[in-house]
């Protein structure tokens, strides 16, 4: 039969669920150690439900300011900047550049300009631009592949956002062809899409 001070060696393991004949035998005959063990079990149980406490928001505010001061944080960027970071800046393809320049002239100068008259048929040949971009996009998805799933997901997400923007701008231009702001936004949106498609081809060439 073990003594009380010897039982103290078995007590921690007993509280973790480990049972030994020596410890069990001692507990059967010793009310003092039984009482102590019961108390310790209560303490363990109560401790597990002590609450976790949230630090005040000022801790994060101050921490963030310190991280910025030390230059450890990159500046927050909008979605387009994040895309540009995924896809390093590269010159646009010649075709995309020419197309968007022509579109810019048509949209910004207006339907009466000599340049606009040279576009096939309807000076507001937005549908041709849209078709051309759609064709480029189809080519891109057939021929170029992003190996990193996170980059692929980001590309698809940003493509969807640009397409939504294009759709919205086109609706506004259709409603009011003289709305210069809408035309500028539409040019910018097509520009973004061309950038995206160009970056995809560049990224594929890099093996990403």
């Amino acid at each position: 039969m073990i003594r009380c001070d010897e039982f103290d060696v078995y007590a921690p393991a007993w509280l973790e669920g480990e049972r030994t004949p020596e410890a069990a035998g001692h507990l059967q005959s010793c009310t003092r150690c039984s009482a102590k063990l019961a108390d310790l079990a209560l303490i363990v149980s109560a401790s597990a439900s002590l609450p976790e406490l949230d630090p005040p928001e000022r801790v994060w505010t101050s921490l963030r300011a310190q991280l910025e001061a030390e230059g450890l944080l990159r500046e927050q960027k909008g979605w387009l900047d994040r895309v540009r970071e995924l896809f390093p800046a590269r010159p646009r393809t010649a075709f995309a550049t020419a197309m968007i320049s022509a579109l810019a002239v048509v949209l910004l100068v207006g339907p009466q300009s000599p340049v606009a008259d040279k576009t096939e048929g309807n000076p507001w040949n937005l549908s041709r631009v849209s078709e051309t971009l759609a064709s480029e996009e189809a080519d891109a998805s057939r021929n170029f592949h992003l190996r990193d799933p996170a980059v692929e997901a980001s590309y698809q997400q940003n493509l969807a956002m640009v397409d939504n923007l294009i759709g919205e701008c086109q609706r506004k231009v259709n409603e009011d062809p003289d709305d210069e702001m809408a035309r500028e936004y539409l040019v910018s949106a097509y520009q973004q899409k061309a950038d995206l498609l160009n970056a995809l081809s560049e990224r594929d060439a890099m093996g990403d």
Partner: protein
Amino acid sequence: MARPRRAAEGGEIPEAEAIRRAQGGDAEAFEQLYRQHSRRVYSVVLRMVGNPAEAEDLTQEAFLQLFRKIHTFRGDAAFSTWLHRLAVNVVLMRLRKKALPVTSLDEPADAEDESSGPKRDVGAADPLIEGSVDRVHLERAVAELPPGYRMVFLLHDVQGYEHNEIARIMDCSIGNSKSQLHKARTRLREILKDFERDRARQQRLEDSEKAEP
């Protein structure tokens, strides 16, 4: 196993990805990691130093060190364990500066026992704690533990770390972690019984004052 962290909320990315992005300086990733771990760190720091203003400073310091060194994190240990190790070191450094008796867990335990008051009479049977442990009393009792006992107790019984994780966090052996934990629990029991005796004595005093004409 450690208590589960705050569950990921909508828009949060997996921790491994957040760490990778934070290593690149991504501010949102930093913030996500902070939000996910700050509560556990602050909780243990506050219970160690007992002062909210100081706990805020030390929590900030722990995360600052974390983010300064995050580029060195290789994933060979759990991120939470690595962070808690930084936090524990920050706390222990502060306590040492205050000249509080913080002993290494690998020193003989007798040294810490001697510094924490006279031994109680263990010959007679001790009365049981009254069926349950009051949370307020438990918090007070934890605050009275010597720092070394308190840290192991908080990491194991409050935060749910296993002894092998505590050994990594506190740079001690598993055996020492277990030994210190048992001593911490035993000491808590003694402190809680003292609270009960004081409360009973106070109650008797009040009762006798009411009984007097």
